[in-house]
């Protein structure tokens, strides 16, 4: 910018440039600090006994070893896919049933009055508290795990859809009345499109909630999945495995968040806020 012409910069501009440089350096410094902290925390690590906090190198080795010597015949990717399949099925149900149910109780007053107390009670219970009851009912197979994920992520989408539909701008509805729209047209052509962003907020929160719940469900009893890797690491005092699991969960969670955001931008581009 200022390289071509040797323009005399004012005092404030020089200061601004220096600050900008500082803002670029600071993030790098903080990441370095984080790595330094990790190294410091792991200085007493003894790989033979497995005591203490594992070093980054040990975690890396363990991650590589997870591919060559899989746990329960599944590599890291396969474990992640098992977990993803579980939340995939659960979310498919959430997004169909949850959106329909949310629309019904958000739009029609009578069902709302009828179902609201029960739904609020259901929502008040933390998803993980259902785990003992569900395992009591359905054992520990694949279905109860998916059911737990559904229980854990259904509320967030229903709440969002309901909120979106019960707060449609009065003016849009009046426009519909003026143009003589039938009740069904008002719902499908006005109310649902105008609450699409709320619905998508529900899709996003339900995805991240599902990812968290599947992890907890797997930690409490499973033989595959990333949550299982963590609890396996904990049981066999294999801390590097625990950290590998945590990092994998973090990465997959971040990817899911980015994906849902991309889809949201594709389907309802007007929600992107101009800064």
């Amino acid at each position: 910018m200022s390289g071509k012409h040797a323009i005399q910069l004012s005092q404030a501009e020089i200061r601004e440039q220096r600050l900008n440089l500082l803002y670029k350096i600071l993030p790098i410094l903080s990441v370095l600090l984080l790595i330094g902290l990790w190294l410091y925390a792991s200085r007493g690590y003894n790989p033979k006994v497995g005591s203490g906090f594992p070093t980054p190198a040990a975690v890396w080795d363990r991650t590589v070893r997870l591919f060559t010597a899989p746990v329960k015949k599944r590599s890291l990717i396969m474990h992640a896919l098992v977990s993803l399949r579980r939340i995939g099925i659960a979310l498919a149900f959430d997004w169909t049933f949850g959106i329909v149910f949310g629309i019904i109780i958000g739009w029609y007053a009578k069902p709302r009055a009828f179902f609201s107390p029960m739904f609020d009670a259901f929502r008040a219970v933390p998803p993980l508290a259902w785990i003992p009851l569900i395992t009591l009912w359905f054992g520990i197979g694949e279905f109860p795990k998916i059911l737990i994920v559904i229980f854990g992520s259904l509320a967030s989408i229903v709440v969002n859809v309901k909120a979106g539909l019960s707060t449609v701008d009065r003016m849009y509805l009046d426009v519909g009345t003026v143009f003589n729209a039938s009740p069904m047209q008002t719902l499908i052509k006005i109310a649902i499109p105008s609450s699409l962003d709320a619905i998508f907020a529900g899709v996003r929160t339900s995805t991240s909630a599902a990812w968290m719940v599947v992890l907890a469900a797997e930690m409490l009893g499973a033989d595959a999945g990333v949550g299982f890797l963590i609890s396996r690491g904990m049981d066999s005092i294999d801390m590097p495995l625990v950290l590998t699991g945590m990092i994998a969960i973090g990465i997959v969670g971040a990817i899911l968040a980015i994906l849902t955001q991309l889809v949201e931008r594709l389907i309802c581009p007007w929600t992107r806020k101009s800064k």
Partner: protein, 278 residues
Amino acid sequence: MSDPTTVMTNEERVVYMQQKRKQTQIRDTMLAIAGVLSFLLIWEAVVMSGWVDSKKLCSVLEVFRLFIVKFTDINPDGAVLLVNVWSSLLIALSGFGLAIVIGIPLGWLMGWYRGFDAFMRPIFEIIRPIPPVSWIPLSIVWMGIGLKAKSFIVFFAAFVPCLINSYTGIRQTKEVLKNVGKTFGASNFTIFWKVGIPSSLTMAFAGIKVAIGNAWATLVAAEMLAASSGLGYMILMGRSYGRVDLVILGIVVIGALGVLISLLITRAETYLMRWKKV
């Protein structure tokens, strides 16, 4: 049209609308009661018809009876109900309190000072996507299975929404308000303190509400994986002894306490935000 309001005087119209609103209110309350009652009746009917194994579902009355008995009876999990409630509350509130005390000021600082934001943001972004539940094994290794480890996990769950909301809240401070401060010669810190923080409080409270939900949900997981008392532990013990009434009671108590806590927070919010006109 058949709308009767067209042939009325104004006074009549007001009375008519009030009546109509009252009727809707009554109808909604009746529907709500009907909904809950029909749920409970179906539950009872399923139990009585012997459709499901009595080990898998017990009657509503039995849960209620256990609720009363559990105040004095320590079987089968080794603590009376209030002791379990107390130990859960202690963990939830200590982790949650810490999250508010650390998370919200941190969000304010990150939202206001660009340098601090540039420094803290990468650390935060690295830690954020890791679900709090997955910290459980590590925190057990670091701190054992006592109160400290569990409140650490709860802290993690509550910390993120506190920080994000106070950050976004202070970022949304109106430029006009900041400029007024500048015009009157306030220093950057004074503007931060007297303009930025008050205007971010609404968002911060929304974050606190999300945080308490998260904290309460994570608590159950923490207590299931490592505890010797608490509501999560009680549910898990009910599961191991095959006592379905205990499991259902635990779920109901956890849900009810969660509602109670968020009600208290809403109260605190309306009290603290009373200076703000709607």
